[in-house]
């Protein structure tokens, strides 16, 4: 399935819903969208991987890039993922210790240490 990207705003958070396959071919589009959001002023970003059915190292690299960029801009970055095959990818690469991972968008927003959660 092709990559799909949709953005919505929840309070002060920008939620990017990603669907389909994130791989070496499609990851540049994800990188571009994240950069647009950050350059456009988004500082509290949640990427929802709920509809992702494939994620490879290139996609993970893009997500880490966004995390670092937001961190250095004083923002926050979190991922939403509750699928075991994807969670296993984060565990194997030790990226589960790098990203805040949450089962739902609500959980990601209320856990945001930079505030704005309820």
């Amino acid at each position: 399935m092709e990559l799909s990207l949709a953005t919505r705003t929840v309070g002060e958070h920008t939620v990017l819903e990603v669907g389909g396959e994130v791989d070496v071919y499609t990851a540049p589009r994800l990188r571009e969208r994240l950069l647009e959001l950050i350059d456009g002023g988004a500082r509290r970003v949640v990427v929802d991987l709920g509809r992702v059915d494939f994620l490879d190292s290139t996609g993970l690299g893009v997500l880490v890039g966004a995390l670092k960029r937001l961190r250095s801009a004083g923002g926050s970055f979190a991922l939403v993922c509750d699928k075991e095959p994807l969670l296993k990818i984060f565990r194997i690469t030790a990226l589960d210790q790098v990203f805040p991972l949450h089962p739902t968008v609500d959980a990601a927003i209320s856990a945001d240490p930079t505030g704005a959660g309820e």
Binding site: V24, S57, A94
Partner: protein, 145 residues
């Protein structure tokens, strides 16, 4: 014994095709259904790595993927890049992953190897027998009962 060979020009768009073919042949060979996600990911990582190396060295040569189901399901992914380029097998520790100084390419390479090593029990990375290049060889058990 059945063998399927696929060779593709080193462009990211073809990696998905290689994954799809690799999983189709795995299923046909009798690889357990619950392993197919890992087969898909591992073949994708091996091909992504090969494409990246060919692009880095400006090589137009095709990447070769060879799938065989004699005994077990084995997949070879062969690149034609100079050998010294491809031995970077170390997985990165978590505190390295988030470091500012680590480039996205380096991170992707490290994470790619972590995924290969983590998902493929029987994995070999070695120089090709003839000419220049490296082969990544992955083997999965098959159930023919």
């Amino acid at each position: 014994m059945a063998t399927v060979k696929l060779s593709f020009s080193p462009a990211p768009v073809h990696v998905r095709t290689a994954r799809l073919v690799g999983v189709a042949v795995a299923r046909r060979a009798g690889v357990r259904e619950d392993l197919l996600d890992e087969v898909r990911l591992a073949i994708g990582e091996a091909c992504t790595r090969a494409v990246a190396l060919h692009r880095q060295y400006g090589l137009a040569d095709p990447v070769l993927v060879e799938m065989s189901d004699s005994g077990a399901y084995s997949v070879r992914v062969v690149d034609r890049a100079p050998i010294e380029a491809s031995i970077g097998l170390a997985a990165l520790p978590p505190d390295e992953l988030a470091k500012e100084s680590l480039s996205e390419d380096a991170l992707t390479t490290g994470v790619g190897f972590a995924l290969l090593a983590g998902f493929v029990e029987d994995l070999q990375v070695r120089p090709v027998d003839e000419g220049v290049g490296t082969e990544v060889r992955m083997v999965w058990p098959v159930d023919r009962s």
